[in-house]
C-alpha cells in the first residue's frame, strides 16, 4: 500500500459510510418530496447543490436573453476554417515575434535546436493538454460559433474545446474567485462594426503559443473581430500582452472563411490512442517497449 493510500479506508469500509452519507442527505429532503415526483427541492436545498453565481443572470436565462439590446453589426453563427492561403505556417502567431524576455528567448532557442534533432519540443497538445487560446483557433480543424444576444459560444473541431464570449455587459469575474482556464474568460463589447473581446484568467500549465513559447498569469488578450467579404470571412486581430514574458504588444491578424458543408463532431485526445501515434511522446514509448520485449 502506498503512503497515499495508507490514509484511505478500504473499499469495503467506504461502502457503509457512503450509504450513511446518502441516508443523511435523504433525511434533509422532506419526506413528501421523496414520494411525490411533482415536488421540487426548496431554493435553499437547490442552492447547496448547484453551481451558480448569485445575483448575476446566466447568459441563457430567458430574462437576460429578452432584455432590449441594439442589433449587433454582425452575427458570427456558423462554421469557420482558418485561412491558410498565405502559407501553412499561418496557423502560427509569429514570426514576427515581440521582444521576448528570458523564458521566451530560451524557448525559441531550445525549440529550434530540439526540432533540428528531429524531436518534439513542448508538444503538450500531443499529450492531450488543451491547446488553449490562441492556438486552439488555428488547429486546421473547423470551428463553430453560435451567437446569442448575451453570448457567443465556440466549440472547436479539435478536441471540442469550448469557449464563451459574454456579451451581456458583465464584468470579468473577481480573479480571486475565477478558476483559470486554457481559453480564459472572454468579455465582448461592440465598437462600431467591430467586436472587441477582452480575455484574461488563463491557465498557464503546459499552455504554449506556437512552439513552446510560455505565458504567465499576466497574459492578456484583446481580439478585434470584424466580418468582411459579405459575411463570409471573419478577420481577427490579436493584441497579446504578457509583461513577464515579452515587451509591448504581440500583434497578429488572421482570417477564417465560412464553410458550409462541415459540422463539428466529437473529437477526443486520449492517451490510449496516442500510444499508437508514433509522432507523440506516448507513441514513442510504445515503440521503445516493443523493442525491449523483442
Amino acid at each position: 500500500m502506498t503512503a497515499r493510500n495508507a490514509h484511505q479506508p478500504r473499499r469495503a469500509e467506504r461502502l457503509p459510510r457512503l450509504g450513511l452519507t446518502i441516508a443523511a442527505l435523504l433525511l434533509t429532503i422532506p419526506a413528501e418530496a421523496q414520494t411525490d415526483r411533482n415536488r421540487r427541492l426548496t431554493p435553499e436545498q437547490l442552492d447547496t447543490m448547484q453551481q451558480r453565481h448569485p445575483g448575476l443572470a446566466g447568459a441563457l436565462d430567458p430574462a437576460n436573453l429578452a432584455k432590449p439590446r441594439p442589433t449587433p453589426p454582425f452575427n458570427m453563427t456558423g462554421t469557420w476554417f482558418v485561412d491558410l492561403s498565405e502559407g501553412f505556417n499561418k496557423f502560427r502567431f509569429g514570426p514576427p515575434y515581440p521582444e521576448f524576455l528570458e523564458a521566451g528567448q530560451k524557448a525559441l532557442a531550445e525549440g529550434e535546436a530540439t526540432r533540428a534533432r528531429g524531436e518534439n519540443y513542448r508538444d503538450s497538445i500531443g499529450q492531450c493538454y488543451p491547446a488553449g487560446m490562441p492556438m486552439i483557433m488555428t488547429r486546421v480543424w473547423p470551428i463553430m460559433f453560435i451567437q446569442m444576444p448575451t453570448a457567443i459560444y465556440m466549440v472547436a473541431g479539435f478536441t471540442n474545446s469550448f469557449r464563451t464570449i459574454y456579451l451581456d455587459g458583465r464584468a470579468h469575474t473577481d480573479p480571486d474567485i475565477y478558476v483559470p482556464t486554457y481559453n480564459g474568460e472572454s468579455i465582448g463589447h461592440w465598437e462600431g462594426d467591430t467586436l472587441v473581446v477582452d480575455t484574461q484568467g488563463f491557465e498557464t500549465d503546459h499552455h504554449w503559443i506556437d512552439t513552446g513559447l510560455p505565458i504567465s498569469d499576466q497574459f492578456h488578450m484583446i481580439e478585434r473581430i470584424r466580418m468582411i467579404n459579405g459575411g463570409n470571412t471573419l478577420e481577427i486581430e490579436y493584441i497579446m500582452t504578457d509583461p513577464q514574458n515579452w515587451k509591448g504588444a504581440w500583434r497578429n491578424t488572421k482570417r477564417w472563411d465560412r464553410v458550409t458543408e462541415a459540422d463539428i463532431g466529437e473529437v477526443e485526445c486520449t492517451e490510449a490512442r496516442n500510444a499508437n501515434l508514433p509522432g507523440t511522446d506516448r507513441g514513442q514509448q510504445t515503440l521503445d517497449e516493443r523493442e525491449e520485449k523483442k
Partner: protein, 139 residues
C-alpha cells in the same frame, strides 16, 4: 535501423512539405518528410478514430518473425474525402504501406499511401493536386 534494406527513396514532392507541420494534433518534427519508405506486411489493426487514424503493420523481419510498425494517418474526415472507409483495411490483409519514417529510426511513420491486396491504391493526397488534402497549395 532496418529501413536501409527496404526501398528508401527521397522524393522531391515530399521535400516541399517540410514547412507543413502536419495535421496539427501535435508536432510532426519527428517525421523525416524528405524520406519515404515502403514496407509490405500484414495489417494487425486499423483504427478509425479522431483526431488521427492509424495502422499497426506486422512486417517480416527476415528471420521468421515480424516487426510491428505504427503508421499515423490523417483524420477520418480527410481520409473519407480521399475514398477511405472504416472497412478499407482489415486485420490479416497483406498490403504495401508507403510513409515518411521517424527521424530517430524507430519503427513508425507518417502515412503516404497503401496498396491493397486487390491493387487498389488509397492515399493521403488529394487526387486533384497530388498534395495532402489539408495542406494548401501555397506551400
Amino acid at each position: 535501423m532496418k529501413i536501409g534494406k527496404w526501398a528508401c527513396v527521397p522524393v522531391a514532392l515530399a521535400a516541399t512539405m517540410i514547412s507543413a507541420p502536419g495535421r496539427t494534433h501535435h508536432s510532426f518534427a519527428m517525421f523525416d518528410q524528405t524520406q519515404v519508405v515502403t514496407l509490405k506486411g500484414q495489417v494487425a489493426q486499423f483504427q478509425w478514430t479522431n483526431p488521427h487514424a492509424f495502422i499497426e503493420l506486422d512486417v517480416p523481419d527476415g528471420k521468421g518473425g515480424s516487426d510491428r510498425w505504427s503508421i499515423e494517418l490523417n483524420s477520418p474526415n480527410n481520409l473519407t474525402r480521399q475514398g477511405w472507409r472504416r472497412s478499407s483495411l482489415m486485420p490479416g490483409q497483406t498490403v504495401s504501406v508507403t510513409f515518411n519514417p521517424l527521424r530517430n529510426g524507430k519503427k513508425g511513420g507518417l502515412f503516404n499511401k497503401v496498396i491493397l491486396p486487390d491493387g487498389k491504391v488509397l492515399g493521403d493526397m488529394s487526387n486533384a493536386s497530388g498534395r495532402p488534402i489539408n495542406v494548401p497549395s501555397a506551400d
